[in-house]
C-alpha cells in the first residue's frame, strides 16, 4: 500500500535523528501546544510514520519503537476512567515526563540551529599557514663531568660482571647437584656399610642438615643398594626409622657393586 503519507515522508524520514525529533516535527506540523499534547492524535500520527518506514523497508532504530510503546502507554493511561486519586501524587499527568523531555530536547534543537548559522558565517574566515620560524636553541652548555663518565663506565662494567658472575653461580649449582647424584650416594652408602654396622637412614640423611634433594637421592640410593643385594633394609613401624645392614649373604660379593650401577 503506497499512501500519500508514504510519499510525503519518504525524504523526511531518514532525517529524523530520533524519536524526539520526529515528535517535534509532528507537534510543529500540527501546531500543537507542547504543554497540552493531544496524545491520541499524536500517537496515531507517530505510528503512521513508523508503518510508513516499514513500508519503505527502512531500518527502524529501536529508540523509535521504545517511544511508540511509551506513547501507547500514556494513551492507555489517559483513556482510563479518572478515578478519585487516593493520594495527591497520583494525579500527575501521564504526559508530564514526556513533556519535560521534549522541552529539554527543544532547547538544544533550537541552539543547534543557531550553531549551524554561526558556523555557516564563520566558514568564510580563512587562516594562514604558519611561516617557518626556526627553533631557538638555548645556548646553554651541557653540564657534564669527566668523573661521572668514569663512574658510569665502572658501574656499567660492575653490573656486567655481576651478570657474568650470575652465570658462574649457576654453574656452581649445577656442580653441586652433580655431587648429589644417585651414583655418588650409592657409593657413599656402600662405604658406610663396609664398616659392618647398622645404619640409621635418618642419621645419614638428616633432613635438617641435608638438602631435600640430597635426602631424596639418598633414599633412592638406599633402595638401589638393597636392589643390588648389598644391604638389607627393615622398618619396624610405618613411617618409622629405616635401618640398613650389610647383606653378608649376597652372591656378588666378589664384584665391585659400583660396576652394577648403570652410568646416569
Amino acid at each position: 500500500m503506497k499512501s500519500a503519507l508514504t510519499d510525503a515522508c519518504t525524504l523526511k524520514l531518514e532525517n529524523f535523528e530520533g524519536p524526539f525529533d520526529l515528535l517535534f516535527y509532528l507537534i510543529e506540523k500540527n501546531q500543537i501546544d507542547i504543554y497540552d499534547i493531544p496524545i491520541l492524535e499524536i500517537t496515531e500520527q507517530y505510528l503512521d510514520y513508523l508503518s510508513a518506514m516499514q513500508e519503505l523497508d527502512l531500518d527502524i532504530a529501536s529508540e523509535f519503537l521504545v517511544m511508540a510503546a511509551t506513547l501507547l502507554h500514556i494513551k492507555s493511561r489517559m483513556l482510563l476512567p479518572k478515578r478519585e486519586p487516593l493520594v495527591e501524587e497520583e494525579s500527575v499527568d501521564p504526559r508530564e515526563e514526556l513533556i519535560m523531555k521534549l522541552l529539554e530536547y527543544k532547547k538544544y534543537k533550537e541552539c543547534s540551529k543557531l550553531l549551524a548559522a554561526r558556523e555557516e558565517n564563520w566558514r568564510g574566515a580563512h587562516y594562514k599557514l604558519p611561516e617557518v620560524i626556526p627553533d631557538i636553541i638555548a645556548q646553554e652548555e651541557l653540564e657534564v663531568s669527566p668523573e661521572t663518565l668514569r663512574i658510569c663506565m665502572e658501574n656499567a662494567l660492575r653490573k656486567y660482571r655481576d651478570k657474568m658472575n650470575d652465570v658462574s653461580k649457576k654453574m656452581k649449582r649445577i656442580l653441586n647437584q652433580e655431587k648429589v647424584s644417585l651414583r655418588s650416594k650409592v657409593k657413599e652408602i656402600l662405604g658406610l656399610l663396609k664398616n659392618g654396622v647398622k645404619l640409621c637412614f635418618s642419621k645419614i640423611y638428616n633432613s635438617k642438615e641435608k638438602s631435600r634433594l640430597e635426602v631424596a637421592t639418598g633414599f633412592l640410593a638406599t633402595l638401589e643398594v638393597v636392589r643390588l643385594g648389598q644391604a638389607l633394609i627393615y622398618q619396624n613401624v610405618d613411617f618409622g626409622e629405616i635401618y640398613l645392614t650389610p647383606n653378608n649373604k649376597n652372591n656378588n660379593n666378589n664384584k665391585d657393586p659400583m660396576s652394577l650401577i648403570e652410568d646416569e
Binding site: 532547547k107 549551524a116 568564510g124 574566515a125 580563512h126 604558519p130
Partner: protein, 183 residues
C-alpha cells in the same frame, strides 16, 4: 583607520607570521608589556581591524590571538581555488555539539538521554573533526568518559571563549505545574 603605533605593527607581524593563534602571554612577552596592557592593546586592535577597510580581522580564541580573512569576503577567497571548502555538519552533529557545549564536561549517557537516541557515531565524528575531545572520566560507576568542546570548536563557531555561548532559551514553566498544592 587611525594610525597604528609601533606595538600594533609588531603584533601584526607576529600574528601574520604565526598563522596559528598566539597566546596573550607570548605577545606580552615579545612586545614587552604586562598582560593587562597587552590585552587592552589587542582589544583595541580587534576593533580597529573590524572597522577599517581591511581584508583581514583579528580574533581572540581562548586568550590567544589569530588573524583571519573577514568571513564576508569568502566569495572572493573561494575563487583562488586553493582553499578547501569545509563541509558543514549534520543536524545530529549540531544537536550533539550544543548538548556538549552547554553541559561540559558531559558523558555519552547524558547526551543520549537528552537526544533520545544512540550517539556513538556522531560523537566519533565530532572527535574526528576535533570539535570535541575526551577530557577524563566521570567519577561514577563504570567511569564513563567525559567530553568537552575544543579550541577548534571556538574557532569554527566564532566564539572567543565559552562565555560567548548564547544563553540557552529557558523553558517557560507550564501552568499545569504551577499549581503544586502547598502542604
Amino acid at each position: 583607520m587611525g594610525s597604528i603605533n609601533d606595538t600594533e605593527v609588531i603584533i601584526e607581524a607576529l600574528l601574520f607570521a604565526s598563522g596559528d593563534p598566539v597566546p596573550l602571554e607570548k605577545i606580552a612577552e615579545i612586545i614587552g608589556h604586562d598582560k593587562k596592557t597587552t590585552k587592552v592593546i589587542l582589544s583595541n586592535l580587534i576593533y580597529k581591524y573590524q572597522n577599517a577597510s581591511r581584508g583581514i580581522m583579528l580574533r581572540e580564541i581562548n586568550n590567544a590571538y589569530q588573524l583571519c580573512t573577514k568571513p564576508e569576503l569568502d566569495e572572493y577567497v573561494q575563487q583562488l581555488g586553493t582553499v578547501r571548502r569545509k563541509q558543514g555538519l549534520t543536524p545530529q552533529a549540531y544537536e550533539t555539539l550544543s548538548i556538549v557545549a552547554y553541559n561540559q564536561p558531559v558523558t555519552r549517557a547524558y547526551i543520549e538521554q537528552i537526544r533520545g537516541v544512540n550517539s556513538d557515531g556522531v560523537l566519533a565524528k565530532l572527535i574526528e573533526r576535533n570539535l570535541i575531545e575526551e577530557v577524563g572520566r566521570d567519577d561514577t560507576p563504570g567511569k564513563p568518559k567525559l567530553y568537552a568542546t575544543t579550541e577548534e570548536f571556538l574557532r569554527v563557531f566564532g566564539f572567543s571563549n565559552l562565555k560567548d555561548l548564547p544563553p540557552l532559551a529557558m523553558n517557560e514553566i507550564p501552568e499545569v505545574y504551577e499549581d503544586v498544592p502547598l502542604d
